[in-house]
């Protein structure tokens, strides 16, 4: 999924903050979840040590990624599974489409998966005449509403219960069993409608597509965490299972799960443990199993010494829930399946910064650091944001200004002359910069700093450091 042609973040955010329903929904949801997270994290006396171990395990894996990927491939193959490698989205889509075609089926059920959204798999399947049915409740809301996901954990966070009821009543019939006419906006009734809508689909569909939260190199095991049971349905019932997994999702050993099965649920849904976690190794209970290992820009991220820490991400979404920018702008403004602080560092690295939107993402932050504090694998998001700002293309006026400033600051005598000149002209400097332009936008809510009559350097020389 590309969100092609979207304007840059500031324009998207400016539109989003005028949507009062959206702001209400986001504020309610993010505040609910951040409190839940804080209380279950505080319960563990060794949280900081788990976080450090999680960080170190991920860094170690990335440092030895080739070895562990080969080990994974061998273990999955030995357990009766098939391993495919996809350097980019096109190849991954080609592989999956081919695998589905081989089964002769034209319907697939899907477990919520960021990786398949990133590569636009549903659209690629549709072009091949294959319908992909999303089964996670939030993904269902997004799919029925012909909408974009706006949060990593709860993609329909921007929708209120009343809006969800409307979508179900209007759209469910187009995709299968219609919603009951008397449907209310009680979350319980909405969940029940989804259960009935999808049950027949689970029982009849022969092919499922999933992602994975973790892959264990040592054993060839895949791990999926979920809440609703739609994941279990897709992983268990269909005859063919295809899992598309980013190469950074690897963990070296089975034992490493003891860290991540504590870090992820508490950071993500704010629960001690999510309702269901499924693990399987190779072809299980008579199933045909395919694993598609996906690069799609990840090796480029890996090559960046500062930016590579973004590959530690376990997609918990804790950083979104504490971000003051996300809370107001919402997920759509980021123009990517990865919104929020992690998206602001992941998207420009995965996609490059050639579009105005992607180049604007490293600025979609106040650098307050709340995201770093809650990150369960200690990704220093502000550090990467600043690093990427340095690499982003800068407008001509800013480059010229910076070059002029560089010329002045380069030599003390030039700076002294510039300061004296500014002091003499200070009466002519307005409190607000003339517009239009970025400087006038800045001074709309701030005064330009006052210029003193005498510079500090001149005062120091005249008074000998204040002694005369």
């Amino acid at each position: 999924m590309t969100f092609l042609g979207m304007p840059a973040f500031p324009a998207n955010a400016a539109a989003a903050v005028r949507d009062s329903q959206l702001r209400f929904n986001l504020r309610k949801a993010t505040h609910t979840i951040r409190e839940k997270r804080a209380s279950v994290v505080a319960e563990l006396p060794d949280w900081a040590r788990l976080r450090e171990a999680g960080k170190q395990i991920k860094d170690h894996t990335l440092r030895n990624l080739e070895r562990y990927l080969l080990q994974m491939e061998e273990a999955v193959t030995a357990a009766g599974g098939h391993v495919h490698w996809a350097a980019d989205a096109r190849e991954a889509n080609r592989i999956v489409t081919g695998l589905v075609r081989e089964t002769g089926e034209s319907d697939v059920v899907k477990v919520k998966s960021m990786a398949t959204q990133e590569i636009g798999l549903n659209e690629a399947l549709a072009e091949a005449g294959i319908t992909a049915y999303e089964t996670d409740l939030a993904e269902l809301i997004v799919q029925l509403g012909d909408d974009w996901p706006s949060h990593i954990l709860v993609p329909a966070i921007h929708r209120s219960r009343a809006e969800i009821r409307e979508i179900f009543l209007e759209k469910m019939a187009d995709w299968g069993r219609p919603a009951p006419e008397e449907l209310t906006d009680d979350p319980r009734a909405l969940a029940e409608a989804a259960r009935r809508h999808l049950r027949e689909r689970f029982l009849s569909t022969k092919v499922a597509i999933s992602g994975a939260n973790f892959m264990i190199a040592e054993t060839g095991t895949l791990v999926v965490l979920e809440s609703e049971g739609n994941g279990r349905m897709c992983l268990t019932l269909p005859k063919t299972l295809i899992s598309v997994v980013g190469i950074e999702k690897l963990l070296p050993t089975w034992r490493d799960l003891e860290v991540f099965l504590q870090l992820l649920p508490r950071s993500s849904t704010g629960e001690r443990m999510n309702p269901y976690t499924s693990t399987w190794t190779g072809a299980t209970e008579g199933q045909e199993f395919h694993l598609v290992l996906l690069d799609n820009g990840r090796t480029r991220v890996l090559a960046d010494e500062v930016g590579r820490q973004a590959l530690r991400c376990i997609r918990c979404s804790a950083c979104l829930n504490v971000c003051p920018v996300y809370e107001r702008a919402g997920g759509h403004a980021y123009g990517s399946v990865y919104p929020g602080p992690i998206g602001a560092i992941l998207t420009p690295q995965l996609r490059g910064m050639s579009s105005p939107l992607d180049a604007s993402l490293p600025y979609a932050s106040t650098l307050c650091g709340a995201c770093y504090d809650v990150c369960p694998v200690a990704i220093d998001i502000p550090e990467v944001l600043v690093h990427l700002r340095g690499r982003a293309p800068h407008p001509r006026a800013e480059r010229l200004g910076m070059r002029a400033a560089g010329w002045v600051f380069d030599r003390p005598e030039r700076l002294a002359r510039a300061e004296r000149l500014a002091g003499r002209l200070r009466r002519f400097v307005p409190r607000r910069a003339p517009g239009p332009g970025p400087l006038s936008a800045w001074t709309e809510t701030r005064d330009l700093p006052e210029i003193p009559a005498e510079s500090f350097r001149d005062w120091w020389t005249r008074t000998d450091g204040g002694t005369r």
């Binding site: 171990a53 080739e66 990927l69 350097a87 319980r188 609703e228 279990r232 190469i247 001690r272 090796t299």
Partner: protein, 203 residues
């Protein structure tokens, strides 16, 4: 060059500048000071937090507890997996032998199983498709799941649970009934998996 060779070559080139690092496991991995009675109490409390129903009974009361729970649900023909201890098999039980179709499983009202391990700190039961647990679909399609946990199967935390589980088996970790937080981030119990989870702990 194949995509496999391409990806591996890119990785080799990318990681040359990455420093080696050390993994320190100084988080809690031992059982801690809890004795068996305290483990049972913690486990029962944490399972109940998920709005699952929990009973703690003695060995000689298990059958009666199971029967009463099933009667309360109005379940007269519950499903049982092969290998369930005979004293836990309720009256009128249906066996998965020969294996039921998915549609038949969907029509079964409830299922009674054991488990492989239980984790006190998180209120989690783990099934490994072993004796008394059955294939994964058995605890998925029926709307009601009653799981019997022996006190000796309860470990303190996640590390102790991971240590005793066999990754070559298909595992299902269950923490409360099926739930969703997708609507305004409020937890609602009961979506696609069993909407009612009842746990019987045998002292």
């Amino acid at each position: 060059m194949s995509d496999r060779e391409l990806i591996l070559a890119r990785i080799r080139a990318a990681v040359t500048s990455a420093p080696p690092n050390e993994i320190v496991r100084d988080y809690r991995t031992s059982a801690g000071p809890l004795d068996r009675a305290e483990l049972i109490e913690l486990f029962a409390e944490r399972v109940a937090d998920y709005r699952a129903v929990v009973h703690v009974t003695g060995e000689d009361e298990v059958a009666a507890t199971i029967a009463a729970a099933l009667a309360a649900q109005g379940l007269t023909r519950p499903l049982v997996p092969g290998g369930l201890p005979v004293e836990w098999v309720p009256e009128g039980a249906v066996a998965d032998d020969p294996p039921l179709s998915d549609a038949e499983l969907d029509a079964v009202g409830g299922v009674v199983t054991g488990c492989a391990v239980a984790i006190a700190e998180t209120g989690t039961i783990v099934l490994d498709a072993g004796p008394g647990q059955g294939r994964r679909a058995l605890t998925l399609l029926p709307d009601y799941h009653l799981c019997v946990v022996r006190a000796g199967q309860i470990v303190a935390g996640v590390p102790q649970g991971v240590a005793v589980l066999d990754p070559s088996r298909p595992l299902t970790w269950i923490s409360g009934p099926s739930a969703t937080s997708d609507i305004e981030l409020n937890r609602v119990e009961g979506v696609h998996g069993p909407r009612t989870l009842e746990v019987v702990v045998v002292r």
